[in-house]
């Protein structure tokens, strides 16, 4: 017996509020500035910023500008196409910017990505990277195109 199948699809539009803190962060990107907040209790500088420190459960309103360069904590190069994700190859990593106590998820680039072992060597944990900005930032997370290696 041939079992019948029904087609279905979820196509649902949403608008997510970024809140005041993220909005301020994106405004900062427009000026090629990366902003974080310092928790008054644990003193960590949180990047990207959020309205309260999740560890201390206190509001965070002390704004700190961090550098647009820092160290790679970890990374990976993707070689397979996944729906909704960028065309491969692309490299993502977690970068801890100078002045921040948390890492930020971002693209890594400026190098040939075809040999992953070479890429892992260039962007190995502890290596230094610097942001490559969009020429005309728009106040979006994509204003930082990627982080490139620096000496």
């Amino acid at each position: 017996m041939e079992i019948i199948e029904f087609d279905a699809k979820w196509e649902i539009p949403f608008k997510h509020s970024a809140g005041e803190h993220a909005t301020k962060f994106f405004e900062g990107l427009k000026q090629k500035k990366i902003l974080g907040v310092r928790c008054p209790s644990c003193k960590r500088v949180l990047v990207p910023p959020r309205a309260f420190c999740e560890r201390c459960f206190v509001k965070t309103d002390e704004w700190v500008e961090v550098k647009d360069e820092g160290e790679v904590l970890t990374m990976t190069v993707t070689y397979m196409k996944f729906t909704g994700l960028p065309d491969p190859p692309y490299a993502v990593g977690i970068v801890k910017l100078d002045g921040a106590d948390t890492g930020m998820l971002c693209f890594l680039g400026g190098v040939d990505l075809s040999d992953w072992r070479k890429v892992h060597e260039i962007f190995k944990p502890g290596s230094r990277v610097k942001a490559v900005w969009k020429e005309k930032p728009e106040g979006k997370i994509t204003d930082i195109l990627y982080f490139k290696p620096v000496r």
């Binding site: 079992i3 199948e5 279905a8 979820w10 997510h16 970024a18 809140g19 993220a22 949180l46 990047v47 990207p48 959020r50 999740e54 560890r55 904590l73 970890t74 990374m75 990976t76 190069v77 993707t78 070689y79 397979m80 996944f82 729906t83 909704g84 994700l85 960028p86 692309y90 993502v92 990593g93 977690i94 801890k96 948390t102 890492g103 930020m104 998820l105 971002c106 693209f107 992953w116 072992r117 890429v119 892992h120 190995k124 944990p125 997370i141 994509t142």
Partner: protein, 387 residues
Amino acid sequence: MRRVAIVGVGQTKFKTRRRDKTHPELTYEAMQLALEHAGIEMKDVEAIAYGTMDPFDGIYLTERWDSISGAIGKPYMKISTGGTTGLTTALAAYEHVASGLFDIAMAVCVQRVGECVDAQPVLNTAVDPIYERHSGIGAIHIAAIQATVHMAKYGTTEEDLAWVSVKDHKHALKNPNAHIRMDISVEDVLKSPVICSPLKLLECCPRSDGAAVVIFASEDLAKKLRDNPAWVLGETTISDSYYIGDRPDFSHWDTLSIAGRRLYRAVGIDDPRKDIDVSELYSPFTIQEVLELEALGFAKRGEAKDYAKEGVTFVDGDMPTNPSGGVLCTNPIGATGLVRLIEAALQMMNESTNQVDDAKVALAHAWGGTLQFHTLMVVSSQKKLKG
């Protein structure tokens, strides 16, 4: 809190897609198996805890549909906590009985990800929409960044990780319910295409369709129902920070360590290497078994990388891990955590198809939500840890 045991388990044979059945029909199948195993009827079940990750099945409130399989007239609650769903649902059912409020409770988990034509868009929505969604990460990427640091810090090799896959696949050959059942070599793994460096195709889990059920009963009832119940010695669950970048060290799964220590203290486990005889850990990607063994105290940091290669974690080794073939070979995501418990319970009942000799204490684990949640449960063939 009173003593509780697992008196029946049921799981469907996991496949890429069960075209033959609807959501509740698959649920019914697993429920029937568990009820038969326990020797009770649906009317004897007093409450149901249910778990699924709705969007993967394309049905909002799958529990509504699956309620026709047995929840009518009963207390019914739904758990949804990412990959830990399966095991956290078990915690809920267990707590129903341990609290004294109910004598028999059922944990039911179902996942029909095989009906999802493309599951990636679902995964994409699990990532923070404000700061992180643009950067192209999914489940494999997250495991890959764990591997990158562990390799850089401890010299873990691609071959070390490949051995974990070889082991799980070998174990799955003994498991008639496993999804992927094929014998592979280290070379096969190393030659498979790189998906997210350094992880390769054969180091990653499949997506499986299926259902799993566990029945918990109070001590008095458990003794009447079977000679070999699996006693619950303890359980715990924990959540970590949300933003991926907040985690201080990807080479060490610190929240799992914390959860493990809390559990061990509560149960009285001094040394998991000696006190735990078999583990079913949630490792859909090879590197995660290594991290889990280290976080849970089965190995010092940086040392678990050698375990698979040296045979330590094979079914006949010192620390058998995933004798069922694990998540690497079978992953019905929302149900996977419950399958870990089922396999751990079967080991304790001495009914596993890949039985560890003389196993008296088993650990079941699940993680979920982009490395954020962990759930653990310890079961035993004995009522107490020691004697």
